[in-house]
Amino acid sequence: MTIVFYVAGAVATVSTALMITRLHAVHALLYLIVSLLAVSVVFYTLGAPFIAALEVIIYAGAIMVLFVFVVMLLNLGEQAARAERALLKPSMWTGPLILAAILMAEFVCLLTAGSSGRFGGAMIGPRGVGASLFGPYLIGVELASMLLLGGLVGAYHLGYRKTPKPEVG
């Protein structure tokens, strides 16, 4: 199981790294989907099968599809790819790389200093999660539903465009 964890982790990291360096939007999207799938496998090894399924269904299945729809709608073609190449000069990477490196270093420092535990290994399936959701985290569920309603209304309003009147005659 541990091997699966490490392999999936490596796949996720590499795929994400590739994603952020692509010029084509669709290529990047595909790499992102691969990364999400790898993370889903990681979830399974952690003993969270329900979440692993949800990751695939909702994240890779709905959100990424939304992205694909928008990219198609915007019709970003070869022209956009060339523009991206022009924008992505190597000098632009230095600052963010340094920042991220410092962040990672801090992170690793913190982790090595703290106590290390191990995964419990027990599987917590949908039943356990469901009982928790309808129990202590009930309010969170309600709030999340309100958030989704807000998102729905907002997206609808922002996307609304008046259709031009049909000509008479």
Binding site: G120, S132, A144, L148, G151, L152, A155
Partner: protein, 102 residues
């Protein structure tokens, strides 16, 4: 099932987060920025699940669920805004939308 040290889980989450951060800071195309933002959110959720698995409780998974819901709402609104931005400026370059300068 063998045990995996929790440290490695967190390092994985951290690495994904850092990569997402790099993507947000480097890319100028709005779509790419949003995608990198999703990566960051996903990494944060991964950290939660790892923590939950360490203690053997479903709380980590529950929080990941909420993060998922939030990400969905955010993406829908964000992409609607991206469409609006494209409609106004005819480009997806975030540096073009700098009228708040000064």
């Amino acid at each position: 099932m063998e045990m995996v040290p929790i440290r490695d889980g967190f390092i994985l989450a951290g690495a994904l987060f850092a990569l997402g951060l790099i993507g947000v800071l480097v890319r100028r195309n709005v779509i790419f920025i949003l995608m990198s933002l999703e990566v960051m959110l996903n990494a944060a959720g991964l950290a939660f699940v790892v923590a939950g698995a360490r203690w053997g409780q479903p709380d980590g998974q529950v929080v990941f669920l909420f993060i998922l819901a939030m990400a969905a709402a955010e993406v829908s609104v964000g992409l609607a805004l991206v469409l609006e931005l494209y409609h106004q400026y005819q480009s997806l370059d975030t540096d073009a939308a700098s009228r708040m300068k000064g």
